[in-house]
Structures are given as structure tokens and as C-alpha cells.
């Protein structure tokens, strides 16, 4: 079983307490009515399909209930880091050199 660090509880816990919630940093346009059909399509449906380090959302469903972000390698399943929702997207190079 994977162990996942919840940045709100500050504990590393079994995956069974968490649910996956899709790609992270998908931002709704502040003026939705300005968007074309194609822009809506991209916002709603088009996602990266990364083989490697993926920025994604998780929710500590059976816990504090919070959504947060993570960087997970989709090949090895290793989590490089987790961070609170709203925190800036970390640089991959920082995660790989210094570890967590």
C-alpha cells in the first residue's frame, strides 16, 4: 500500500484514507463567458497523460477531508512531495535534488 503525506494533518498515512482527484493546477478562467467552445473543451476535458512526474490532486477523504496537491511519478508510484491547495507549483528540479 502507498503511504501518502497529508500536508494538513502532517502525518504520513495509508493510501486507503485518500482518494485521487485528477490533475492539479487546472484553473477556471476568471471570466468564463469570455471563453470559446474550444477553450471550454480544453478546460473541462483535456488532460496531460504524463509518463513520469505528474502534478495531481488528492483528497484526505477519511481524514481531515481536505484536497491537496502532490507530485507522483506515474511509473514508479513514488510521491516526490505533497503540498497544500493554493500553494505554488513546485519546481521539479528542486524536488529531485533536495528530496522532500
Amino acid at each position: 500500500m502507498l503511504l501518502i503525506h497529508c500536508p494538513y494533518c502532517d502525518e504520513t498515512l495509508p493510501e486507503a484514507e485518500f482518494t485521487y482527484a485528477g490533475q492539479a493546477h487546472v484553473i477556471r478562467h476568471p471570466e468564463p463567458s469570455s471563453q470559446t467552445d474550444q477553450e471550454w473543451e480544453e478546460f473541462l476535458f483535456i488532460r496531460e497523460n504524463v509518463k513520469g512526474d505528474h502534478f495531481e490532486r488528492w483528497r484526505h477523504f477519511h481524514g481531515c477531508g481536505r484536497y491537496f496537491n502532490a507530485v507522483r511519478n506515474t511509473v514508479s508510484d513514488k510521491f516526490l512531495t505533497t503540498y497544500k491547495a493554493g500553494a505554488p507549483r513546485p519546481q521539479l528540479s528542486d524536488l529531485k535534488e533536495g528530496g522532500e
Binding site: 500500500m1 494538513y8 494533518c9 502532517d10 502525518e11 498515512l13 495509508p14 486507503a16 484514507e17 477523504f61 477519511h62 481524514g63 481531515c64 477531508g65 481536505r66
Partner: protein
């Protein structure tokens, strides 16, 4: 007013040499959500509000548990529920919040005995030993969200939503028998 609809009545479900599982008497349960000033809430309730997730504070018969960054659960005798509403209504203008009575939503199992930790591990993927005595955690037990309180080393309470309670009661009963059979 919250009316209890639990199909389980208070009393012992099973007792073996491994552990005892019982249904606790009804309690007052309140859910508090706020991003306000915790100091003000603490003064109104007469406690130091916990801000670390999983930490509990107690004052008299009131227990306050921090469940999330903006979420607390309050456990108290049912006849004290109204006074908590009065205390927090008085600060509502300055400290917006949501206070909801959820007494009838849940029942509490009391799980204690030398093998209580083993019994919990049949359904809970957490390392039970990592929960400090005096604290509590919302976690999962056999697919069901529960709040697990560790009152002493081998003494726990498990708050469960009503609709899951008969199923978890059966699971705990079976587990309790199996662990006792292994000991025999």
C-alpha cells in the same frame, strides 16, 4: 431537536478475553465549522481550542476535537447542547460559523481490552499504536469513515454514522471472537 434513530441500544455487544465491545449511551454531538478567531471560540466554550488536527481538549464533560483546519466536533451531555448554542450565538456577529447538532447521526462503540488494538487493526489500515493516548483521528474502518478516540492505551471509542453501525457492530463482534479463538 435531534431525535435518536439508532437501531442499536446501549449495552455490551460482545465480551471475550480479547476485548469488550459495547454501544455507548446517547451523547450530545455538535459539528463546528469556522475560520474565525479560535481564541474567541475558546473563551465562549471555556476551553483552549485545539488547532492541531487530531488533538482534543476537555473541560468538565465537554470534549472538543479538531478534525480539520476549519472543523471541530464537540461531545457533551445532551442536556448541555442548548447552552453551547447560546454561548456561540452570542459571538456569531463577530465570528461567523456553522454550528450543527448531529447527535442523532452517530453512535459510539466502546472498545477496550488487552487486544483492543489487534481488534481495530482488522479494519483500520492505520498504525493504531501511532495515535497518542488522549487524541483522536478520523480514519477508515472496513470502508467506513469513523472517528477513533484513544482514551487509554487499550481503551478506544469509535464514532460511526448510524446507517453503518449494525454492519460495523457485526464486524467487531466477529473479530473479537476470532482473536479470542486464537488465544485459546
Amino acid at each position: 431537536m435531534s431525535v435518536s434513530i439508532s437501531t442499536l441500544s446501549a449495552g455490551v455487544i460482545i465480551e471475550t478475553k480479547s476485548a469488550r465491545v459495547s454501544v455507548a449511551a446517547p451523547k450530545g454531538r455538535l459539528s463546528l465549522r469556522t475560520r474565525g478567531d479560535l481564541g474567541v471560540f475558546g473563551s465562549a466554550l471555556g476551553v483552549e481550542m485545539p488547532s492541531k488536527i487530531g488533538a482534543c481538549v476537555r473541560s468538565g464533560e465537554l470534549e472538543v476535537l479538531c478534525l480539520g483546519p476549519d472543523e471541530w466536533t464537540l461531545m457533551l451531555p445532551q442536556d448541555q447542547v442548548a447552552s453551547i448554542f447560546d454561548a456561540l450565538n452570542a459571538i456569531y456577529e463577530a465570528q461567523p460559523h456553522s454550528l450543527t447538532e448531529v447527535s442523532a447521526r452517530e453512535v459510539t462503540f466502546e472498545i477496550e481490552g488487552t487486544h483492543a488494538t489487534d481488534l481495530l487493526s482488522i479494519g483500520c489500515p492505520r498504525d493504531i499504536e501511532s495515535i497518542p493516548v488522549g487524541e483522536a483521528r478520523r480514519t477508515v474502518f472496513d470502508g467506513v469513515t469513523v472517528i477513533l478516540w484513544r482514551d487509554a492505551s487499550t481503551q478506544f471509542r469509535m464514532d460511526v454514522w448510524n446507517s453503518f453501525a449494525p454492519y460495523l457492530a457485526q464486524t467487531l463482534e466477529t473479530g473479537c471472537k476470532e482473536i479470542a479463538a486464537e488465544l485459546a
